[in-house]
Subunit: 396 residues, 4 copies
Amino acid sequence: MKDKVVLAFSGGLDTSYCAIYLNKELNLEVYSAIVNTGGFSEEELQAIENKAYSLGVSKHVSLDQTQYYYDKCIRYMIFGNVLRNNTYPLSVSAERMFQALAIVQYAKEVGAKYIAHGSTGAGNDQVRFDLVFQILAPEIQIITPIRDKKLSREEEIAYLQSHGVVANWEKAKYSINQGIWGTSVGGKETLTSHLPLPEEAYPSQLKRTDSQEIEITFEKGEPVALNGKLLGSVAVIQELAKTASEYAIGRDIHIGDTIIGIKGRVGFEAPASLITIKAHHALEKHTLTKWQMYWKEQLGNWYGMLLHEGQYLEPVMRNVETFLEDTQKNVSGKVKVKLMPYRFEIQGIESPHDLMSAKFGSYGEMNNAWTGEDVKGFTKIIGNQMKIYYQVNNSQ
Amino acid sequence: MKDKVVLAFSGGLDTSYCAIYLNKELNLEVYSAIVNTGGFSEEELQAIENKAYSLGVSKHVSLDQTQYYYDKCIRYMIFGNVLRNNTYPLSVSAERMFQALAIVQYAKEVGAKYIAHGSTGAGNDQVRFDLVFQILAPEIQIITPIRDKKLSREEEIAYLQSHGVVANWEKAKYSINQGIWGTSVGGKETLTSHLPLPEEAYPSQLKRTDSQEIEITFEKGEPVALNGKLLGSVAVIQELAKTASEYAIGRDIHIGDTIIGIKGRVGFEAPASLITIKAHHALEKHTLTKWQMYWKEQLGNWYGMLLHEGQYLEPVMRNVETFLEDTQKNVSGKVKVKLMPYRFEIQGIESPHDLMSAKFGSYGEMNNAWTGEDVKGFTKIIGNQMKIYYQVNNSQ
Amino acid sequence: MKDKVVLAFSGGLDTSYCAIYLNKELNLEVYSAIVNTGGFSEEELQAIENKAYSLGVSKHVSLDQTQYYYDKCIRYMIFGNVLRNNTYPLSVSAERMFQALAIVQYAKEVGAKYIAHGSTGAGNDQVRFDLVFQILAPEIQIITPIRDKKLSREEEIAYLQSHGVVANWEKAKYSINQGIWGTSVGGKETLTSHLPLPEEAYPSQLKRTDSQEIEITFEKGEPVALNGKLLGSVAVIQELAKTASEYAIGRDIHIGDTIIGIKGRVGFEAPASLITIKAHHALEKHTLTKWQMYWKEQLGNWYGMLLHEGQYLEPVMRNVETFLEDTQKNVSGKVKVKLMPYRFEIQGIESPHDLMSAKFGSYGEMNNAWTGEDVKGFTKIIGNQMKIYYQVNNSQ
Amino acid sequence: MKDKVVLAFSGGLDTSYCAIYLNKELNLEVYSAIVNTGGFSEEELQAIENKAYSLGVSKHVSLDQTQYYYDKCIRYMIFGNVLRNNTYPLSVSAERMFQALAIVQYAKEVGAKYIAHGSTGAGNDQVRFDLVFQILAPEIQIITPIRDKKLSREEEIAYLQSHGVVANWEKAKYSINQGIWGTSVGGKETLTSHLPLPEEAYPSQLKRTDSQEIEITFEKGEPVALNGKLLGSVAVIQELAKTASEYAIGRDIHIGDTIIGIKGRVGFEAPASLITIKAHHALEKHTLTKWQMYWKEQLGNWYGMLLHEGQYLEPVMRNVETFLEDTQKNVSGKVKVKLMPYRFEIQGIESPHDLMSAKFGSYGEMNNAWTGEDVKGFTKIIGNQMKIYYQVNNSQ
């Protein structure tokens, strides 16, 4: 009996090559699997399945991880308002982890001896995949033909043709990676430091020129309703993406540090994640204390950094998640957002936990909760150490 | 001979009241002073001076602190990309400190026994003023008639009338505070949590519907040229504000923690500071290492927090400034920015210090600087601790 | 019917004065209460009760909060290895909070209109008490006769004598504050910067000159057994204090920032807390990952700072506690400690969660888990950004 | 003409093997170099030189880097009070960096094509050496025979004998690494988690049983005099080590995270660094503000972490050094320390910059700088946000 290999399969050139190679050259029984984290339609998944079988795999599965990905990661990115470098929702990097987690789980289920993926030796994804596989299944060996054989596209195409696989492998002008939390866009401009992506590089083109106001309801930090309709968080995000992408909202370019130390630049279109995070953040500004905001920001940033770098399994990540969730007890309420072509505005919030309540004094208005004398005392004491410092150190 | 008081004078109702009160009731010789941190034109300053003398002050001065404010504070806010809660450039809070610093310096020069300011007991500014005065001149007493006597506008107006001062004291619908680093806007909407400011509340209305590309040149972190024209940093900021405000760029609402513990909401219009900071940040993403960015963010946020809370004189602020300046050695280059109605986009950068150089490998492309084998070794070692952790803790 | 006041009563001069004053001058019904956080014996509590009734209070209670204080605070200080300035276990400051919490709870139960405490205007405790009372019972008014009337000891003694209260009010040479988490010692030396406390200032004198090895068992971060005997955490701490104080272990002097901005210096003797924390920390070094240690240290320090400053009720404290607790899942095992005159040594640990397992490679020894080639790859990738940085910035 | 190789040479088995191997097998001209960072006497250096020439090297040099190491690193570790895990002065890890820096500099000077070191594939040092060499001299190739050939001691000895090199290569019971900043001690006990090192494992044995008081003078954070005698910092540290080691002070065991992810345990004896850091820290507690201490701790810890992990060349390290130095302006004064067998006590400090000055109010004593009313106002305002929080969130 042949040994089994689970192949993380996307239907692209690299993983098509792998499907043939693992079978023909390594004599393995190929189980191909595609993990859906919200970026594929039923039709696309069916087409990928057809392709897999046409390449002769023994079995193909589509593993839907969208809800799991939301439960185990997206909600924490919302709690933590996670934007790398204050810009980039972790659209691609986070979902790679959940693809890897589903693959390794499946490999254990089918008793595979090997896991294969189509990563090259040039990017972040190889690290993300390898880390998860090594940590959770040290007994399973990893095979990465493209990385190891340093194959060119031409060589891969020739090999496939020699095995009777003929397809249109022409490279798209812009490489697109789509998931529930956003779409990344790479192209010749993102390989430079000075050029923006052209309008047409973005998958969603402007379709509406009006404006509209929407309302997102949060419950303990999670988006649960859109315009008053209870949908569940995954559906809120998907609905939001659909509506906002018609306004071409949520485009930007991220420049960041890759896991392997070089700088990388990538365009993205992530209307739902940006709107959700900004709305959530606005609600937090009203409902959390200063120091809660302070520490959430630090831990949220750290969470994003480690997640980006493939270290989702580092135990501190669970601790940070616990912290973030604990801060969300009162982050409930409604946020109004106005959508306009290419941009959106947070209009305001309503929450029973709003700390900016007129009952306790409005900023800049006289009030009954404290007096000018109280503030004088406060200022005197808060200035004490500085006052002493200046007297000690200037009088010499 | 009468004792001298230096009065921080704006020409508004509160400080007009103080000018009379200090003279008539407290029998002091009033030296009025207005500190310009970039928000006043020559004409406005002249009008304020006329008003001061009409109120019978002994002497009036305009203290121009714009360049000093830039040198001692704004440049550090740029170095630190300082935005409170990732939103608000410290338009008003920072300049209050420099107004106070100039006032206390002037009071020492003229040998004043008192300093007076028109703050009420309800806001942040009283703390900022008192702190600076107490720390740098503990020998000078502070007088705050409005705060101490808890006067209503009507009482103040009546008092002024009784001393022959008649003017139009009608309150503007929106209170505006203008300085080089931005304009704050308060109104009835900002006293609620749910209402945005209406279009007309903002001082700068949309005038242009085209787009234009501009280029900012940074030298060691400071903006020094606009569109290739060497202007000096203050002029770059002023020019940028003029151009970008025609596009109504830079509006937003900040919800934050006041020094006195309540939440405050304030609108602002700060095109120059937002564009400068975002352009500077983009340049840093290309020229600094990951850990430089990491620590800059932490210290920059702290700097903003203490500055906002009136603690500019805390010794750690000087240490943070030294740190921030030290990180800017290579933050030189050009940033292209596209201005459009209500928004702007960072297009890209050019810098001799750009770490994203194709020489060292482009992200996602094969290269010669390292191999897939190197990354495999890296991944193995970087995953070591997690691998051990999972083996130790799952095998029980 | 008279209004009720709950008086935080210690039996000392200040609170004895208050007991009479509240009754005689303010005509209130005095409910005195002493909160025991582990520093008082039954006999001492009885003596204080006798004293209270001799001063004419209507009712006196002893509120034992030792276990509650452990559950709600000490365990988190252990989890967080909390030592202010890396030196001082929060012996006194933490327990003040729990005294205040018990007092306010009791005041609500008896329907008191007032709470009184004997703090002067010179220290931290007034802030700690007032904060808790104001936050949890804004409807109850606070009375602080000693602070408000700025009384000298002589005046208080004279007043008490005039009401027939005669006692020995002579001030002890060293002021001692004892609780389960340590004893603070103040005296004339601690008012200077240069003098150490003399041997005799410390309550526990050296009684043994041998050495002995003890073993503390931790379960999820909490000390549960001593020398193999399951005692519960409070008893472990008390037993440890008894044993170690015979060796005069755990003395030091803390110099820190008071809440009111001045520097304060205080001696302490805290053998149980120091040994527990150091033993716990050693166990963590073996069972937690690097980044868990890193974030624990940051949040633990913050917890200690806010606790010290009376901000136990700040909501972020609950979030930090949740974080700390979550990190303790695997912090179970035994720690051996050697006690010697004036000092102790952590000998080593045993834990099923020990990450330093020979199975995974011993430091400095060849092993099978990775190769020199892996480390070379690791080093190459980890050095990538620095290598690029030096090439970009030195070649100009 | 043969190509040149610079060999980092210690005279031990591994580097002796390398000396022969590089010459005989790789046909290289061997330049051996030993870097002294304060751990070697003249006699020891001479003996090593003799050994090198006896192994047939073309040239041998001793590079004295003690002062340079102090100037570029130790002083910052003092400024930052750097102790890994609050325990371990970076005795060995820091000096490895300076050995590597001197070696790469020397290799450039002599025009070497290769650098060789004797590291195995099992420890931290290989990473430290490789990182420095790769970053500063990417054009020079690195040779590591012991790592690459995975040789056992027996194989090395046999090889040396076959080339006529006969010596006593018996392994010492405890491996000792000595430098100016401390001595590390490894042995069979440190390979376990539960055993302490025995008394005899430590190089310095107890010689005195009396006590003595010494005084260290700091100038802007640096130790400059001992007992009033101006010596320069390096000499203060060396003198201190000599005196304190007679008391067997400064021993402990460190458990930490190695660069390669496993836990490592190492004993050390570092009296001078521990006393210097604790004395310096005490002086800082008196002369710095709370927030200066806070940020110093964070940045100092980070500095220690990156230094330990071989990342001394990361640009952020220079920024951190600049920060730390800037905080030391007022850290001048004298610290008295009492030395006793196995332990020391900080007695107190004297400094013109002492913020704990009786002039400004002594802790717990009534004073004139502020009143109880001021503190009441302070407490009211500081409690504002929490008060609002509890009212908003409990009343529902």
